[in-house]
Amino acid sequence: MKVLKLILKNALRHKLRTVLTIVGITIAVIAFGLLRTVVTVWDSSVDAASANRLITRQAVSFIFPLPYSYKEKIKSVSGVQTVSFANWFGGVYKDKNNFFARMAVDAETIFDVMPEFLIAPEELATFKKERNACVLGADIAKQYNIKIGDVMTLEGDIYPGRWDFVVRGIYHPQNKNTDDSQMLFHWQYVDERMKIETPVRAGDVGWYIVAIEDPNKAAVISDQIDALFNNSSAETKTETEKAFAQGFVAASSAIITAMNLMSFFIIGIIMLVLANTMIMAARERTREYAVFKTLGFSTFHLTGLILGESMLISILGGGIGIAFTYPIVAGFEQAIPKGFFPFFFIEPVTTIMALGAAILIGIIAAVFPIQRTLKTKIVEGFRFVG
């Protein structure tokens, strides 16, 4: 009890210095939490990719289309369960800042290959029946307050013109890693209009989504699919959805790696800042620590005194930082275009890591001042002039 009081009094000796150090740690922990959140969100979107789904895309780039006719051919490969396909539609819903994925899909099969999109059977049946129907992710429906039966109008860009869709279903995410921010509608509906307006683009498919029975055969099946279209005008590249997801954000990948590293650099830097504060404090108190030793206080007591102060500062900074991280991450989520990350939340492990980092900062920052204090002989301590 007495010791805690002394630790507190020591920490408050240079109030400004202590407050600045705490603020520094707070900011570092917030930056750490934010960076880690972006990293884990990215990681989990890759993790969300299914292992028994393959993506077949144009070999050169996924921005080039594949012919519709490939569907039956891919189906013929042994081990393939279901073949579905999708097209990036783009377009603008009301305002161009309303960012969420809009895709023209094969209504018949899309929910078979995406079992993590949970939809009521009646809704799915209606969706399949009506050509201008669409299905919305629960998150988007909630965000724009759209109900079943509403009409959503998209202003096309890749597919010019005005497009009206009737909402016939809302799908729910199976787990927190499921992206429930997509809008799905009939590829056939889009394609019919293309046949009339831009016949050269009719029959274009963005990529095929291939469900396979055995994820262990993914490599063999991928090779067999690609072999089908060797030397054709549209060669394919087939890979697991996971590999596709990683490739899709290949550019971001470097940034993510940098963020990952940075989150740890920040912890390292703030560790040095606190260590510096603690070393300064220990220097100033050289005589006092000599007094403590003279009075018979032991290594254990002095270690506790210095470590306690260091931990008090780091845990206070860390705690405030963690408390601020939640609203700041929420604010960050508001600020970035909706749907840019399908899901955005602070993983518990991020909080645990931030707290762990704060504790580690406190311990490591105390090492040098403790060492210095214990090493200094009493007589040297009394002769010391700051």
Binding site: L6, K9, N10, R13, L295, G296, I378
Partner: protein, 225 residues
Amino acid sequence: MSELIQVQNVSKSYWRDSFEIPVLSNLSLNVKQGEFMALMGPSGSGKTTLLNLIAGIDKPSSGRVVVADTEISNLGESALAKWRANNVGFVFQFYNLIPVLTAFENVELPLLLTKLSKAERKKHVETVLGIVGLGSHIQHYPKQLSGGQEQRVAIARAVVTDPVLLVADEPTGDLDKNSAAEILTLLERLNKEFNKTILMVTHDPHAAERARIVRHLEKGDLVGV
């Protein structure tokens, strides 16, 4: 009276890089239980060094130091720390109080190492602060006290554990004449009424007068009586 302090053939050198700085050479000194001895001598003659050896905060290069029946020159670091806590009270020229602690808390500090309860500690602290005449300044911080008052708090801290030996290194060196006189009167009282053995280093002849015996240290040797 029996001997409380026996310093036998003690030498002490310091090392600065590879240079040996001899401070005390083959010095012997006995101090009886209940003595009040003043140690005088020019600056750099080794007074503080000798005091530190006797009080167990430094170790001789050779020779024996026996205090209160313990050969302290043989003790290890932590045994010595315990021995100091039980046997010696320290008074320094610059008081060396902990600035963030009140007078009460400063005096209580050595008692935190004992098994005394909070109530018992309080009783002890208030008693000694009363003896040094600071009963009404219990909650004051060092910077709210005068130099003389600070030194009295330091003396209270030195005697609160009831040690047999009190060492004081120039306890009046930083004080004006009146405050110095008060401190010396207090030390005399502790010696006479409470039977503390006191070893005091001083430059001040007035201070030395109060002691019962004066020894002079010159270039590491004790001279005269």
